[in-house]
Amino acid sequence: MACRTCLWLLGTTFFTCTVRLVVEGTEVGATQESISGIQIVTFKWHHVEAPYLIALWILVAGVSKMVVELNHSLTSVIPESALLIIIGWILGGIIYGADKMQTFTLTPTVFFFYLLPQVILDAGYFMPNKLFFSNMGAILVYAVIGTCWNAATVGLGLWGCWLGGAMGDIDIGLLQFLLFGSLIAAVDPVAVIAVFEEVHVNEVLFIMVFGESLLNDGVTVVLFNVFDAFVSLGGAEIDAVEIIKGIISFFVVAFGGSLVGIIFALLISLLTRCTKNIQIIEPGFIFILGYLSYLTAEMLSLSAILSIVFCGICCQKYINANMDERSVTTVRYVMKVLANGSETIIFVFLGISAIDPAVWVWNTGFILLTLLFIFVFRFIGVFLLTWILNKYRLVPLEFIDQVVMSYGGLRGAVAYGLVAMLDENKFKEKNLMVSTTLIVVYFTVMLQGITMKPLVTWLKVKRAAVTELTLAEKIQNRTFDHMLVAIEDISGQIGHNYMRDKWHNFEERWLCWFLMKPSARKSRDYIFNIFHQLNLKDAMSYVKEGERRGSLAFVRNETKADVDFNKKFRASFSEIMPDIMADNMGPDHEAEKGNDIVPSVCLDMHEQDLTMRESEDFNAHHLLQQHLYRGRKQHRHRYSRSHLETNRDENEVQEIFQRTMRSRLESFKSAKMGVAPAKKIQTKHQKKDKPQKVRGEGTFSPFLHVRPHSHPLIGNVMCMLCNVYVMLCHF
């Protein structure tokens, strides 16, 4: 298997090189030949050259990914991105050897227009909105102030060292240093995701780093353009006016870009509202309009990344509600395919581009100092900003979080793309900068990527070992956690929420009316949705399990819920769903929509707990640690490039929900129907339910079709839920 994959890889590369040689050969031949007769078959290379090479390279990248994924133990130590870069090196070496020059490199045009947009759109579309916006303040601080700090310190630091003679004799000036600083300062979204896939961190930390990497593009674009213009103008022309213009341009670029994105999000939502009759091409609109938002912002010299991010963020909700379920699945899957593919190509080409002696200029001082400065100043910047932020935050960021955030500031292809765009005539030392950027990218992606996980593990173990709680304390702590979460939910508060409530009201009244299909709107009755969604899953799984086991006897045993819902679901979810979900049910059916309420497990923590301690009461502590439900405050991992549903412990939610519903049902039953013997009530319901049940798969629909439009007595809803549950539990 491994051999075959590698052979594939080598084969395709060799093919690419030989094709070029053959082409050159035939070129010479073709021009001299005159047509002597009809040719039955001709070799029309030039006819297909461009698309052929593109397709071939995509294939090569895909096969590289296959090679990388062969060995899972390897990918858990070395992040995928690093392995892809290594493969890029190998390929680059082969091609260079064949061609004596690097024919394929990552050009800025290809990168910025064809490879980056889908990655960012994917990030925006799958962004956990609630989390993102509730931490927006902190994210903005890191993105804007942090990036400016990084750019300034790196630029000035290098300039200072250059003045001090550490870099020898190079033709460069302060402005060029600042420009270099600004493009190397930005944390890269592609690289960050690639590394954080393996390292499971809590959701707040994750969204900070992720959000920062996306939003700092606004700053990077501005700084890059401003300093580029300054360099063109020459140092003498810079006065206060120009600097003020630079600052204003930041606001214009950032907000303008976001605005463009939001406008396109509105367009997409409106469009999907009207596409009931052409559901088959709905997904296409999303991608085209997303891409257009990127290009439009680029055209207006605004921040294209911000534009496409906000487009994705703002339209998620409405298009998921408006579009047909299959379209939604298509969009999600295609997004992942495109994003994954682009990311792979980007990293492979980053590797290939390095194998090109023409661009390599080595200057020990410059390179080493750059590496040092970006590392050190990132740490200083993050710690400083966090210290300031913690004064205003409800939940402070801890030390380990700050370390992970500083260490996780990876640079990637965006920096390379920017540096490749520099004009050689203005920047005499362009090659030096390119080389340095490449080295920085390799260093951060590979070294920091590889050592990130061990570092986190070490820190966590260190931290965990310090506090040894007694059982009672642990239980109490967890109780308090749950208590606090519950009170927050009851009071409708998580931190500063007044604005959010206002926004919610505005959104409910105006936006949903404007942007969502009427049918989608109706089924958005929240309570009904959540219960419906979870009930449906329950129902399906119970039935499936029952069918599988031949009888539903097991269901009556309420204390041992042995059904493994997860396994059942992944397989049969997509088949069953279309049947059960009658047309225009349109509720938020995807698992992702339960984002707000579905907790998940952090694999990291689990490992920690397992290796915790071997003491006398190890057993009890260990048991407790493993089985105590984690509250919302615990670790979750919500975004992944390669998986659609990530790390969500649905079991936990299922269990808690079932328990709660069962106990509520018990009390409800005894309250409403008097304390009648349980059996009697069941048969009564059974009789009622039997005829409807017989109708086959569509059974559940009639029940759940009854939508409480006008807030009837809650008793009715409870009654309905009663029925569903009773029917399920006592078939």
Binding site: L394, L469, T470, L471, A472, E473, I475, Q476, N477, R478, T479, F480, H482, M483, L484, V485, A486, I487, E488, D489, I490, S491, G492, Q493, G495, H496, Y498, Y526, I527, I530, F531, K560, A561, I597, V598, P599, D617, A620, L623, L624, H627, L628, Y629, G631, R632, N651, E652, V653, E655, I656, F657, R659, T660, M661, S663, R664, H711, L713, I714, M718
Partner: protein
């Protein structure tokens, strides 16, 4: 819809609530709008079903118990006053309160009142003691299904062993206080505008 008018909050009421709970004016109005949004029946009181309608509570292991904590003994409805009284336990402790009139009764959000709230989550029969059974019940709610009853029983026993000091095989409020003191200080929610 005429009943709406009678459920609007009057100034005197706000003052009274302010005195009793220590919330500020804006916080009270803010929470009142939350109260009314939960009150689907629009009769000025919340029933258990109103709370149960909050989806996040359905997946909180202690959700139902906490809902119960809002309702005074044997009652099924809670008015705004009662609502605020319970929430007041979680108001952040401010510095200027420490110098308050010592004659006045202890503020609702004092540390011991917070602990009392938590204690009552365990102690259903209000006998001021957490018996093994009550502890078992709460543990069962907080733990997954893969842990057997015997294992849970032994954990409960261990816990009581650790916390119990007077040997009566149950945890009294004083013993409860002594466990994990530090953490309780962080149980505040920031009800802010």
């Amino acid at each position: 819809m005429g009943s709406r008018a009678s459920t609007l909050l009057r100034e005197e009421e706000i003052e009274e609530i302010k005195k009793e709970t220590g919330f500020s004016h804006s916080q009270i109005t803010r929470l009142y709008s939350r109260f009314t949004s939960l009150d689907k029946g629009e009769n000025g009181t919340l029933s258990r079903e109103d709370f149960q309608r909050i989806p996040e509570l359905a997946i909180n292991p202690l959700g139902d118990r906490i809902i119960n904590a809002f309702f005074p003994e044997g009652e099924d409805q809670v008015n705004f006053r009662g609502f605020m009284r319970t929430l007041a336990h979680f108001r952040p402790i401010e510095d200027n309160e420490k110098n308050k009139d010592p004659i006045a009764s202890e503020p609702l959000n004092s540390r011991s009142n917070k602990l009392l709230f938590a204690f009552r989550l365990y102690d259903l029969d209000r006998d001021d003691k957490i018996s093994r059974d009550e502890l078992l019940q709460v543990l069962r709610m907080m733990v997954g299904v893969n842990i057997s009853d015997e294992q849970l029983g032994s954990i409960a026993d261990r816990t009581i062993q650790e916390a119990d000091q007077n040997g009566d095989n149950s945890i009294s409020f004083n013993e409860f206080i002594k466990v994990g003191n530090v953490y309780i200080l962080y149980i505040d929610i920031d009800i802010d505008i």
